[in-house]
Structure formats: C-alpha cells, structure tokens
C-alpha cells in the first residue's frame, strides 16, 4: 500500500491534484444526467430492476417475465397477473479520456497575448472565463503556465477525485495514436493515484486519433457511464462526432472539455514568427498582426461549430482556456450542471 493510501485522501499531493484545492468541491456530487449501470449498488439511478430494493410500481405480466416476479397476492384478489417493480441504484463509472497528442503539449510562446486583441476579444471572456481577459499567468495547482495537457490532467484528476470520494469508480483512457492507455474503473484512492502517475509519466506526443480512441473505448465499456473527454479537438469533426455517437448510442453520457491555450484563442504578441506545427512539423511564416483578426474570427467560428454539433447530440461542450485555473473551469461547469444548464 502506498504512502498516500496510508495517510488517507487528504494527504494526496500530486502534480495534477492538490487536495486542499478540492475543498471547494466538498458539497458537490458529480452525478450523471443519465441512468448508469453499475456492478454494485450505488447512489445513482439505474435502469436495472431488482428485488431487494425499494418498491416502485406494478405492471401487467407479459410473456417472458419471470414467473417468480408475479405478485400472487394481487392475483388472488383480482385474478390478474401483475409484476411488482422495484427501484435500483448502482454505482457509476467515470472514464477520463485525455488527448495525449503533441498539440496538447503547447504551453505558449512565453509572450503575453496581444493586449490590443485582448480588448477586442471580450467574447472570449464570456465564452471561457472571466479571468481570460486579464491574461494573468495561471498558477493553479502549482503549475505556472500549464500546457493544455496539464490543464486536462488537472481537471481530470479533480473529477477523478470527486468520483472516488463519492464511492464511484474512475477509469483513464489516453489517446495517442489511438487508445494508448486504458486503466479500468476502480474506486480507490490508490487507483486514483495510479491514474495520476500515468498521466504524469505519459507526456503528450504524436497524434491523438481521438475518433479511433473513442471507438475503441466504446467497445471496452460494458456498462453505461460517464465519459469525460479532454481534448483540443484538433481533428476532423465528423470523425469525432461519429465516434461519439457510439458512446451516446449505448447510453453513455459524454462531457467534452475542449482545452485551448490562450494563445490559440488570441495569437501571441509577435510581429511575425515562424509557426511550426507541433504534430506535423510543418512551418508557416506569418505576420501575426496581419492575420490576427481573421484568425480569432475563425477560432470563434470553429468553437461555435463544435458547440452546435455537440449540443445536437446532447453532449456537454465546455471550452476551457489555459489562462483559466482548472478549478474555476470545473466549478463553473459543475454548478451549471447542477442547475440543469
């Protein structure tokens, strides 16, 4: 047993998880919006029906029903066959799918984003974070200027912590050239710590192939659960949407956090630069000032397109900037979720 397990959950201190920062979520329950199916009894609504649980309703017998489920007392009084139904609650499995591609490794140019564009990009503050416009270095979790991957891991760790804390299970899937890593759901702190170590020990690289990863993951998931995707969604939209459909079709709830660096939203304050694609290595020389406005417009369009498409599939879509501390982004999402938004 690890030291962390021996000292209890409050002693966890990891690059991506600081328990003291989780205090703000002590009254928050990460509940699925859909019914989930678990292996054990839990607190979450389940489509399963059983015998040992609380009575829920009656229904007429239909061929195929277990004969043992017939309420014979009713039959005696009414000469009709009814089946007695009971409520069933099960535990929940939350799968954290983190994009481990090289593009997630981006932690910025080291320059502040253009102040002029900051003023013009107030839409971003509304869409992402009120802190975004201040372009203040994000030091949440002790990580200064976190990369997109760092932010994804921080958010994933926090959700994992909430899940474990409420006696549910958490799993980890890492997308890098497909499903590169998959850790089955478990509900212990040690399992969470294991997940965290995997996150840290697997730095982002290569391409993600998120669509393939999701498809692969959907085949592995045997029960309904919640899949939380952390990605910059820098892959073809239709492929990803098609893959996501596999998950939702099977009754899973999918939540997507689109992680973007602040400099992806607002280009860095450079007159010109040679941009190198983090995944392909291709180069592009640009006068940043010349393209800034149109770039930001296109980014906004892309995000709006993703939001519309995901909303149509009843998938939560959240844009998170690296300028926003992870807990703020998570807090805002959870409260919105509680409020039914």
């Amino acid at each position: 047993m690890s030291d962390q397990e021996q000292t209890g959950s409050t002693a966890i201190a990891h690059r991506y998880l600081r328990v003291q920062e989780m205090a703000r979520f002590k009254n928050v329950v990460f509940s699925p919006r859909r019914m989930v199916t678990g292996a054990y009894a839990g607190r979450h609504a389940s489509p399963q029906r059983g015998h040992s649980v609380e009575f829920a309703d009656y229904r007429e017998y239909a061929p195929g029903d277990e004969v043992g489920d017939v309420d014979w007392k009713i039959y005696g009084r009414s000469d009709k066959l009814f089946i007695k139904l009971f409520e069933h609650y099960s535990d929940m499995a939350v799968t954290l799918l983190i994009d481990g591609s090289a593009s997630m490794h981006y932690s910025g140019s080291g320059l502040a984003a253009s102040s002029s564009s900051t003023k013009r990009s107030s839409w971003l503050g509304r869409a992402a974070s009120s802190v975004t416009s201040r372009v203040k270095p994000n030091k949440a979790g002790g990580i200064t200027n976190p990369s997109k991957y760092d932010l994804a891991c921080q958010m994933g760790a926090a959700i994992g912590f909430l899940t474990v804390k409420q006696q549910d299970k958490v799993a980890l899937a890492l997308a890098r050239n497909g499903l590169a890593q998959y850790l089955r759901p478990a509900g212990s702190i040690s399992h969470l710590y294991k997940l965290l170590n995997h996150m840290e020990s697997d730095p982002p690289s290569d391409k993600a192939n998120l669509a393939g990863t999701i498809e692969d993951l959907s085949r592995r998931l045997k029960r309904r659960g919640v899949i939380v995707v952390f990605s910059d969604l820098e892959e073809p939209m239709d492929e990803i949407l098609r893959a996501l459909s596999l998950l939702t079709y099977r009754g899973n709830e999918v939540v997507i956090f689109q992680i973007l660096h602040e400099e992806e939203l607002k280009l860095p304050d450079l007159s010109d630069a040679v941009f190198v694609d983090s995944e392909t290595g291709q180069k592009l020389r640009l006068n940043v000032d010349d393209v800034r406005v149109i770039y930001e417009k296109k980014v906004r369009q892309r995000i709006d397109t993703w939001s519309a498409a995901l909303r149509a599939k009843k998938i939560d879509h959240n844009v998170v900037s690296t300028a926003t501390p992870y807990y703020q982004a998570l807090e805002r999402y959870l409260f919105k979720r509680i409020g039914g938004g």
């Binding site: 010109d272 941009f275 392909t280 592009l284 010349d290 296109k298």
Partner: protein, 720 residues
C-alpha cells in the same frame, strides 16, 4: 521671396561640404544593416498546436509584408546617411568652382556704402538702417568661427572695419551696429581695391566673395571703371550685388555756393550764387535761408520745377574786412546732408595783386619797381589794389589766395614750390602775367603750363633779341583791340602804346592755336598773348618793364595796360577753393599769424579741436592741414582766440542725385569685368551669399526626420 537670379549662363551644379570629415559617420549606416541581419536571424520560431487555421488565414497577409524588412532597412539607412550628410554641412552651388573653393570660398568681404546718399530716407526707412540690416543678414548667413569676413566702408577714404579677415563675426556685427552715414562721396574704386587686397591676403589671389551693399547711386557707380577696379579683385571672385532695400526717394539740394567777384572788398556789392536742384518728378517749394556769420540776412521761398536745376543769386555787401561764414540752407527733405552749402569768404579792403620779383620795389628802374608803381600808382591806401611782394625763391603759402592777379617780373628760375603754387592758382581760375627778360624764360613758362603733363605753351621762346642802340628798338604795332583786356584802349591810348620802344624782346615761334595774341610788335612777332591754363589764364609778355629792357615803365600806358590785365585776370567767382567732405583741407591763407604767440589749432564745425591737424611753417608763413575733413561746415585756424583762416567744407553735389543704377546693369558690368557676378533680390531673406553654395543641412535633417517618421509608420503599420 528669396531669389537668386542667374546672371551668368547656367553652370554645373556642385555640392560642397564644410565638414567633410563628418562623412566618416557614414559608417553608422552599418547599424541598421546589423539590426536588419539580427532581426532576420531573430525571427521567432513558435511551435504551435495546429496550423490549419493559421494556414487558412495566411492569404490575408499584406503583400508588402515580405518586403517590410527591406523597406525599413532602406529607410533607416537613408535616414542615417542624411543625418551624417547634414553634419557634414553640405552646400549646393550653381556657380562654377564655388563649391570647390573650400575655405577660400568662405572668405567674404562686404563693401558697405556709407556715402552721404545712403542716408536718404525712402519708404519711411533710413537707407543706412536698411544697409545695416542687409549687412547683418549677410553675416547671419555665415558661420561664426568658421568663415572669414571683413567689412570695407566705402566713403571718401575707404577703410576696413578690422585690419584683417576674421572669423569672429560678432565683432563685425558690433562694428556694423555703429555704422553711420558720412557726408562724403564714396571712392568706390579705392573701396574695391581695398576689398581686393583683403581677399587676396586670404585667398591667395583666387576665389572669395565680395558682397556689395550699396544704394547703387548712379553718379557713384555709372562712371566707375569696373574693368580697372575688378582687376584688383582675386580671380574667380564672386561678386554679389545687393540692391537697396528702400525705394528711390525725391530730394532737393544746394550746391556750388560761391561769391562774385572772387575777391570782394568791403562795402562792395557782391553776389552770392548757388545751385538749387530738384531731383523729383514733382514741383517743390523750398524755403531758403541765407546766414552770414551765423546771422540770418535773407529768407525766401523758391519754386522748383521737376528735375530743375536753378541758379540762385543773392546780393550782399560785406561791411568788414576778414573771413566771413556764408551759409545757405533749405528746409529738410529725404536727404538732410545736402540741405546746406557753406562758403568762407575773405573780404579785403583792397584787391591784392602779387608781384614776383627779385628786385626791391624801391630799386629804381627794375621790373619790380615799375610793376609796383603801375599796380599802386599812389603808393598807399588810396590805391585800388594792395601789392604783395614775393621773390622767386620764396616759399609761398596762401599768398595767392584772393589775389586778383600775379605779375611775374623776375628773371631768375622760379622756385619749385612757387611754381606749384602758381599752377594751383591757375588751375583754380587765377590769372598770372609773365614778363620775359633774360632769365630762364622757357623753363619757367614750361613749368607754369605744366608742359610735362601735356600743358601747352603759348609759343616756343627762341631767343632774347637785344636790339642795341635806341634807334634800332622796336615798337608795338597791332593789337587785338576788341579783346577784353584791350577793349578799354581807345585810338589815342592805342597810339600811346605804339610809342613805346623795346630794346630786349623775345623772339618766339608761331603761336599755338590756343593762344590769343593781344599785341604784336611792329615786325609782326607776338608781343603779348594769353592762353588758358586750368580755369585760369596765363598772359605772356615778350618783354620786360625794366628800364634796361624797354621804355615801358616810363609811360602811363603801362599803368593802364597793367590795370586792364589785373581787372581781366581777376577770378570771376571765388571764396575758398571747393573742398568736399572726406578730402584733405589745407589752409594757406593764414593771416595775422604771430610766431611768438600760442600754437595755432584747427577747430572743426562741431567746435572741437582737430587733434591730427598739422600746423607747420614755410619760412615765416604758417600752413595748416587737416588730413581729412570728415564733417561739412566751417573749419578755422585759431591762435589764441583769433581766427587766422577760415575754410568751408561741403558735400559733393553728386551725392544729392538720388537716381540709381539698375542692379542688373551693374551685375552685368561686373560679369563683363571678369568676376562671377550674382544679383539677389532686395527683399531676400536668404541666399545673399553663395558660400560654396546654398546650405542644405537643414533640408537634409528634415528629410532624415521625415524618413524616420516613415520608418515608424511602416513599423507601426506592420505591427498593428
């Protein structure tokens, strides 16, 4: 408007640099090049998550974006070069060689006219103020401490403000601040010569700048021999003619004040004559005032038609013997300096006649004896003439002043100073009668007419004929009885003359064309003739009144003939000889000098003693000299409170004519004289000088700033 009007043919433009060593700063152009190279290397390399969007946006980039570094580099390099060039102080010239003259071209001599006419007020501005402003403007275009300059003041005695060229322009400005107009006429030829010598010293005989700041008065410039004057200037000198900034004014003036007769005596009516000039297109009425010895004796208004010169005659009678101050003045106008004319008149009790002879007047039978008795037959106060005696070897100073005539009866060689005085007396309009005996007649005659300088003798003396016994003596026969000298001789008097027999007479050659023969001997040879010398008249008699030469002195006809000659030769107009301001003044007519008394002094018009006036004596006669009579008015020689002599100094009447010479014409004449002539606009605010060219550094600094502004705009544009 500043305008440099080309006079010569267009020339090749040239660029000169005052500080060429500053071009080393061009190495600084490497800084923008280095910055360009560093920026090129320093292009930021940024690993970006995804280029798809950026690639989609790249089409909107400015087409100038790729060239922006080159544009910025060019702008910066040009700015640096222009700043460096500005520090090198470039000058542009359209005159050949001006740019190449270097330091020699920076030597500037200003010829500043301060003659009387410059004091004319035109357009409400005194000409001297405008002249000072223009001179200051010339200095303002020069760089103190670098360029050399000097000022030559053009007046009667041109002088330089400083002994040599100087780079301390402030000193010259202070000198110009003290610029005042003089009552003198400008000696432009000397002024140009002085300017030339200053430039020669500095430039080694090539190049330099001469700036003429003058009112371009026509009477001053028109007759100036610019070919000769320009010959004193260095080769390749640039002459810039700055025309007067004030308009031509109208003027009235007084000049040529004189007295008639020239030798007035007490209680005798005399006429004071003066010329009144109206240099204006309109009729003028002037108020004229006559003052004698400071007392106003007459005042009248006189109307002058446009451009009229009117002879003015004022009657007066002097009641006392001695020197009198006559001043005629008119009311003020544009030029005040010529509104008064001064005349010193010495009034005699009797008209002086000078007899030059080496014999004592009381030595019977000598020429002096007979001449003195002919001039003053009563031998005392009752005679009309006062006789002065001078020997042939006696120093002469002022003895001829006021003399009605000079009679030379001596036979010896005349002294050199005496001959000089006689020539001056003749030149000034006096009369001299030479009686010829056995002395060096030809030498004396040649000296009197100044034959060495082209003067002509009435005839060539051949030899003295001694006719021996009385029976062979010769008599007068024919006479020009209509001449002014002899028209008083009626037939009886003529016959009386014919009775006179001459023993020794001079045989002479044919009379000169200019000679008027008044009397002939019976053999047809000339006996008496007259010839003009200067403004005066020389009468030559081929005989002597001495008893051993003729019976002339015995006859009363000789007295009549002598008086006729004296009256005819008496100068018609007189007073002191005209002396103009700025010229030397000599008092030769000192009377009443007491050798035992205090040292005489010369007192100027302002009442101050003139320190550098020279007082010396020739024999017993004092002579006072003022090196330059700077002011107009009366000068007197004073000994112990007594006035020994008086002289008047006036302005040169040519200074009163305000008409100007066309600056283009003057510039053309300078160009014809071989100089590089420039003409500038009178209202020019710059470009009066062509010191190796027009300064360009201001423009270059401005261009550099414009380039830097463009660079900032370009950089800002690409950064926006």
């Amino acid at each position: 408007m500043m305008g440099v009007l080309a006079v010569d043919n267009p020339t090749i433009a040239a660029l000169g640099l005052i500080a060429p060593w500053m071009l080393l700063g061009a190495l600084l152009v490497s800084l923008p090049v280095i910055a360009h190279l560093l920026n090129r290397k320093a292009s930021r390399r940024l690993v970006f998550p995804d280029l798809a969007l950026l690639r989609a946006c790249s089409a909107s980039q400015s087409s100038l974006f790729k060239l922006r570094r080159w544009i910025v580099l060019i702008l910066r390099a040009l700015a640096v070069l222009l700043i460096v060039l500005a520090f090198a102080q470039p000058l542009w010239s359209d005159q050949p060689g001006a740019a190449a003259q270097g330091d020699r071209g920076s030597a500037v001599v200003m010829l500043v006219d301060r003659s009387l006419s410059v004091g004319t007020q035109g357009g409400g501005v005194l000409g001297v103020e405008a002249t000072r402003a223009q001179a200051d403007q010339v200095l303002a275009e020069m760089v103190s401490g670098v360029e050399l300059a000097n000022v030559v003041y053009a007046d009667a005695n041109p002088s330089a403000a400083l002994p040599s060229m100087t780079t301390n322009l402030n000193v010259l400005r202070q000198e110009l601040d003290r610029l005042e107009v003089t009552p003198q006429r400008a000696d432009l030829a000397s002024a140009l010569g002085l300017a030339g010598s200053l430039l020669h010293e500095q430039t080694g005989g090539a190049g330099g700048q001469l700036v003429v700041v003058s009112d371009l008065q026509q009477t001053n410039w028109q007759d100036l021999d610019l070919q000769a004057a320009s010959g004193k200037l260095p080769d390749g000198v640039t002459v810039t003619v700055v025309p007067p900034a004030t308009p031509q004014a109208e003027n009235t003036s007084l000049s040529d004040l004189r007295v008639e007769p020239a030798t007035p005596v007490t209680h005798q009516p005399v006429t004071l004559r003066a010329k009144l000039n109206n240099f204006a297109d309109s009729q003028r009425v002037v108020n004229l005032t006559l003052r004698i010895d400071g007392r106003q004796v007459e005042s009248r208004s006189i109307t002058l038609e446009p451009w009229q010169q009117r002879e003015l005659a004022l009657s007066h009678r002097f009641e006392s013997v001695g020197d009198h101050r006559v001043e005629v003045s008119i009311n003020e106008d544009a030029l005040d300096g010529d509104n008064a004319a001064y005349l010193a008149v010495r009034v005699y009790e009797r008209v002086p006649v000078v007899i030059i002879g080496d014999n004592h007047p009381n030595e019977s039978g000598t020429d002096t004896y007979f001449l003195s008795r002919a001039v003053a037959p009563r031998g005392g106060q009752n005679d009309a003439h006062e006789v002065r005696y001078v020997t042939s070897q006696e120093p002469v100073a002022g003895q001829f002043d006021g003399a009605a005539a000079v009679l030379i009866g001596g036979s010896k060689q005349l002294d050199g100073s005496l001959l000089t005085a006689l020539r001056q007396h003749l030149e000034a309009g006096g009369g001299v009668v030479l009686f010829c005996d056995d002395g060096p007649i030809r030498d004396n005659l040649a000296a009197l007419v100044n034959e060495a300088d082209g003067g002509v003798m009435p005839w060539e003396p051949i030899s003295l004929r001694d006719l021996g016994t009385q029976g062979n003596w010769i008599t007068l026969e024919e006479g020009d009885w209509t001449s002014a000298v002899l028209d008083a001789f009626d037939p009886a008097s003529q016959e009386s003359l014919r009775q006179i027999a001459f023993r020794r007479v001079w045989q002479v050659d044919s009379p000169h064309d200019y000679t008027r023969v008044l009397l002939n001997f019976e053999d047809g040879s000339p006996a008496v003739g007259q010839i003009p010398v200067g403004l005066g008249t020389l009468v030559v008699c081929n005989f002597s009144p001495a008893l051993n030469a003729s019976d002339l002195g015995k006859y009363g006809s000789f007295v009549a003939l002598t008086h006729a000659l004296v009256d005819e030769l008496m100068p018609q107009f007189g007073g002191s000889s005209p002396v103009f301001a700025g010229l030397p003044l000599t008092f030769g007519n000192i009377a009443g000098y007491d050798p035992a008394g205090p040292t005489p002094v010369v007192i100027g018009p302002d009442g101050a003693v003139i320190a550098d006036a020279g007082i010396q004596t020739l024999g017993d006669l004092p002579v006072a000299t003022v090196r330059r009579a700077e002011q107009v008015g009366f000068y007197e020689v004073n000994q112990g409170g007594r006035t020994l002599a008086l002289a008047a100094v006036n302005t040169d009447p040519r200074e009163s004519d305000p008409r100007r010479m066309d600056e283009g014409e003057l510039t053309r004449r300078f160009a014809e004289a071989g100089t590089i002539a420039r003409q500038v606009d009178a209202q020019a605010t710059g470009g009066l000088l062509e010191l190796r060219g027009t300064p360009l550094w201001g423009w270059m600094a401005m261009a550099a700033m414009a380039l830097l502004a463009m660079e900032m705009m370009v950089v800002g544009y690409f950064k926006r």
